[in-house]
């Protein structure tokens, strides 16, 4: 039979059912919209990253080191490049003299014309040029807002006071959120010494920026000429191509993750499609049987409804794609804080085509499950309505297989990693199977332990949970999964914030002063105590590097391919303290702790965090050599410790006994506790004014910043989860309306034999109450389990079942289900039975 006739029949048959068909397809609209929006945004971002690649770095080549870059390299590069610039950056306190506010910032002293590409965006504009004039500073706009300062005011950095010439709105290649913890303050390099902040032991970054002429192949130059001149472990470098790759990868991962969240919404929608089509096809059994009676073939029946569903899938996908294209215009704003470049929203035809193709594929794939049964409808059904096909259709399993393959394929395309994609597919399958299992269990339990003594209304509504055409399975899965997603998000967010808040509570320190020089310890302790604040800890910190382990040098170990010691363990700068006792956050797991070294000839027994010992592949008794700013010190592992890193206090991977490091260059950390913001501000001001090199971390400020970051991240995730929730609601509405056609006969019959409106309303209300309750409780149960797993295995925070949010979620979801269910029943209840039958059937 030709395709045209099938299409004509599909068209004819759809005329009386279009609202129902559109309803099915509304389920996939939001999923497609979310995918198209994310993909369009991803395409636009990739385009802008490619277009502004040089602006992301601001130069063709950047060298970075923790110590001044070798002069030979600098001289060589200066001769090769067309322009050069340098930067010295470090964390330090700044003070706003006008209002006394002080805060930890990232000081960036710049010399030369950086950035060579793009610009530091400022208000007023062109502020970068003013930085070349002495004693001008460019200050991050959020920092100015926080301290109620503006361009024209002053800012004190160390011993030097600067004029704030402009506020910094955006730095090339830097996402807004990355400056939250330590906002940048740019100063001219020639003023750096005047600040007096370059102290020995401070964590200082040195950078050199280069611009080459257009003909220079920077990557080849780097590989062939520059790399051999650099000590690989001490100097890092970045080129435009590398930066583009890194940023591209990062944001591809982000869009991949968001795509998966959107895909979950689409899968929920597809489940709605499958369930609605299942009910729709039940209504079509007689039509198909008549067609078969008149000589139509099974395939023709299937073809007619497949075309209908494909067309609806196409319409749903096109509407979704249009909606997604509109939504993506909002995404650059939503993600603004996380983006390194300004993304211009533009229509992405590729994303639209992908979305439409995906929408059609999934709607057909999921609709095929119920559609396949059409092939088996017997023509005898026209004579005997009770004739039912009892055969099992094996092709169903093929469709199930295709669906799983499709989900896995999509996840793999998004994640690019087989293991992760299998986890995703497995997780989705597990959630579906768990929800379906719970729904079947509920149906079984209600049947098995049916409360025969309950009143008619309760019995009737309960029995609706398992009768033919019941919605238990589909609603428990869709509403349950939607609830699980959003509830997990709320629970985890709550737990993370609670954990951070807890660490700041009670008698824990909430202010950390560091970079304190030896001679500054006593006066700062005095200032602290004079203000009635406790000096809770006074800790010396010595920086050192690893020189060798078990008589093998770091260089040798790096070449030894049989060793699997991570590079960061070998390369990192170790911040070490010394004391004679263990802190209450530490517990010995091996060896013994000897707190002092009595004589210079004695062996030095240090204590290691047990995790770093595993990474170093050492145990008690093994020799480790450290390079303490030029001096080599041989030590032996005396003990291993289990450290509670959660506590707000100084913790160290490597602990030395007293009697070794006292004379080494070091800085001190002092911890105290302040009880109010005013007290914190005045204390910080006092310390910074007298000791500008000392940096202070105000935990309350960090908490606020963290709260802000978590809120921004969770808003993005909530925005994506919103698609799942609304899809869940649409599926709920769809299922309820579709089932109306199934329930009308019964309601009319009940009314005809004398049931009151109130009784029918009560039956419906209780049924939806049971359904909503079961779906919400199942979703919350899954959310609790997944929150527990995330809390324990991923975030490593204690799990406290969040009772209040769980109760609120339960009440809201149940209420919503009942309201949607009842709004649908009203049309049946408020009209005379015969009118309902004539208009609806």
């Amino acid at each position: 039979m030709n395709f045209l006739w099938l299409t004509k029949m599909a068209w004819r048959d759809s005329r009386r059912n279009r609202s129902r068909l559109f309803l099915f397809m509304s389920s996939i609209v939001l999923g497609i919209a979310a995918l198209v929006a994310i993909n369009s945004f991803g395409d636009n971002m990739q385009r802008d990253i490619n277009g502004e690649a040089k602006k992301l770095l601001g130069a063709d080549l950047v060298l970075e080191a923790r110590q001044p870059l070798p002069d030979s390299v600098l001289a060589f590069l200066d001769s090769m490049s067309t322009a050069a610039a340098s930067e010295v950056s470090f964390a330090s306190m700044v003070l706003f003299p006008e209002n006394g506010g002080s805060r930890l910032v990232q000081v960036r002293a710049i010399q030369g014309g950086f950035p060579f590409y793009g610009d530091i965006e400022t208000t007023p504009a062109n502020g970068r040029k003013a930085l070349n004039q002495k004693q001008n500073a460019l200050v991050d706009h959020t920092l100015l807002l926080q301290y109620n300062a503006r361009p024209g005011d002053s800012i004190q950095v160390g011993n030097q006071t600067f004029y704030i010439s402009s506020s910094v709105d955006k730095v090339p290649g830097q996402a807004g959120i990355s400056t939250s913890i330590a906002p940048p303050v740019f100063i001219p390099m020639q003023q750096l010494d005047a600040t007096g902040l370059l102290q020995k032991g401070s964590r200082i970054n040195y950078k050199a920026y280069y611009k080459f002429d257009d003909k220079t192949d920077v990557d080849a130059l780097l590989k062939e000429v520059i790399e051999p001149r650099l000590k690989k472990d001490e100097v890092q470098y970045d080129t435009v191509a590398e930066r583009k790759q890194e940023i591209g990868d990062t944001y591809r991962n982000l869009t991949g993750f968001l795509n998966l969240v959107a895909f979950v919404a689409l899968l929920l929608g597809c489940l709605g499609v499958a369930s609605s089509v299942h009910i729709y096809i039940k209504d079509k059994i007689i039509s198909v049987a008549i067609l078969r009676c008149l000589g139509g073939k099974g395939k023709q029946g299937l073809g007619i409804y497949l075309i209908q569903i494909a067309c609806m899938g196409l319409i749903g996908s096109v509407v979704g794609a249009l909606l997604g294209t509109l939504i993506q215009f909002y995404l650059p704003q939503l993600f603004a804080e996380f983006l390194p470049v300004a993304v211009d929203a533009a229509v992405s035809w590729e994303a639209i085509a992908q979305g439409i193709l995906l929408g059609m594929t999934v709607s057909i794939l999921f609709a095929l499950l119920p559609l396949l049964s059409i092939r088996k409808i017997s023509p005898l059904t026209v004579l005997r309505a009770s004739q039912e096909n009892q055969q099992t259709d094996r092709s169903r399993y093929l469709i199930y297989g295709l669906i799983v393959l499709f989900v896995e394929g999509f996840a793999y395309l998004q994640l690019g990693k087989l293991r992760e994609s299998l986890f995703f597919t497995g997780g989705i399958l597990l959630a579906f199977v768990a929800l379906a299992g719970i729904a079947q269990l509920i149906i079984w339990l209600v049947r098995k332990y049916f409360p025969v003594n309950w009143s008619y209304i309760w019995r009737q509504s309960l029995s609706n949970l398992y009768r033919p055409n019941n919605q238990t399975l589909v609603l428990v899965i869709t509403v349950g999964l939607g609830t699980a997603l959003i509830a997990t998000l709320f629970f985890i967010q709550g737990m993370l914030l609670e954990k951070v808040s807890l660490s700041a509570s009670e008698h824990q320190p909430n202010m950390v002063l560091f970079d304190i020089q030896d001679q500054q310890v006593a006066p700062i302790a005095d200032i602290t105590q004079q203000r009635g604040l406790p000096v809770m800890q006074e800790v010396p910190v010595v920086t050192m590097r690893l020189e060798g382990i078990k008589n093998q040098s770091v260089a040798q170990m790096k070449q030894d391919t049989t060793l699997h010691i991570p590079n960061w363990v070998l390369n990192r700068e170790y911040r070490v303290t010394y004391r004679d006792t263990l802190a209450d956050t530490e517990e010995l797991t091996a060896g013994t702790w000897k707190g002092t070294v009595d004589s210079p000839q004695d062996s030095i027994f240090i204590s290691l965090d047990k995790g770093i010992a595993e990474d170093m592949q050492v145990g008690v008794g093994d020799k480790i050599t450290f390079n303490v700013q030029g001096a080599l010190i041989d030590t032996y592992v005396g003990s291993l410790r289990d450290i509670d890193w959660e506590r707000m206090q100084t913790n160290f991977l490597v602990l030395f006994p007293k009697g070794v490091l006292e004379k080494a260059p070091k800085f001190w950390v002092i911890m105290t506790r302040v009880d109010s913001a005013q007290q914190a501000a005045s204390y910080q001001q006092a310390v910074v004014q007298q000791f500008p090199n000392v940096s202070i971390i105000d935990l309350d400020l960090i908490l606020q910043t963290l709260d802000d970051i978590v809120s921004k991240v969770s808003f993005v995730i909530k925005f994506m989860a919103f698609f799942s929730i609304v899809t869940g609601i649409l599926v709920l509405i769809g299922s309820v309306i579709i089932s109306k056609y199934q329930r009308i006969q019964e309601s009319v019959l009940l009314r005809t034999i004398g049931a009151s409106r109130k009784q029918i309303l009560s039956i419906n209300a209780f049924e939806y109450f049971f359904l909503g309750s079961l779906a919400a409780l199942t979703g919350i149960l899954i959310a609790l389990l997944s929150s527990w797993a995330l809390a324990v295995f991923s975030f490593e925070v204690p799990f406290h079942p969040p009772l209040l949010p769980a109760i609120i979620t339960y009440v809201l979801i149940t209420l919503l289900t009942v309201l949607i269910g009842l709004s649908n029943s009203r049309s049946v209840i408020n009209r005379p039975p015969l009118e309902v039958l004539r208009s609806e059937v």
């Binding site: 067609l291 008149l294 099974g298 023709q300 026209v382 004539r838």
Partner: protein, 240 residues
Amino acid sequence: MKDDAVAGPILAVKDLTKTYRSGDKPLHVLDCVNFALQKGDSCAIVGPSGSGKTTLLGLCAGLDRATTGSVILHGHPLDHLTEDQRAAVRSQYVGFVFQNFNLMPALTALENVMIPLELRGEKHVGARALDLLDKVGLADRRHHYPTQLSGGEQQRVSIARAFSNRPAILFADEPTGNLDEETGTYVEKLIFDLNREAGTTMILVTHDMELAQKTQRIIQIKGGRIAYDSLIQESVDVKE
């Protein structure tokens, strides 16, 4: 498949048996039924409810498979055909009129009549369908949906549909069972007139003996067996 010049009977039913399983026990709905109809014959199958009339109709029309025995419809042994091949036979040679009309609810009256023709791949089917609707007096209701038509009107559309593919044999299952007396009489006349005009063989399943007596032959089914066949009785009478 079309071969109007078939030799022998249009419908030949031989040793036809249909058994269902009811729990563990077999339920013999039809038991060794034999009869044949020639071109242009009209035959009524009568019998009490549950006697197997409708099952027999379904088997004769190829809607179901027999447990044993055979049905040869217009030269095609139905028990040897697949479901799709039986559908093709129905499309070519069979027309149906049902007690509950069985019109496709989403299609208009005209489209319902066009369906059998379209399934045969015929072209310009609208004119023939409209002509048939005109014959049953519903040309002006052609764009109405079944729910917008009365029971009698729906049955008339169903009759027009049944004759649309110029069937060799018409199966009618209680065609007046759901109609009032006056409409029933009108529909009866319509079926017999169109049947006569087209020279179609007709099998009519009915409870109504008055209607049955209007056919040339009456077969009475009881307990799944032929209890009475007027043709055989007549031949016995003639011999006697």
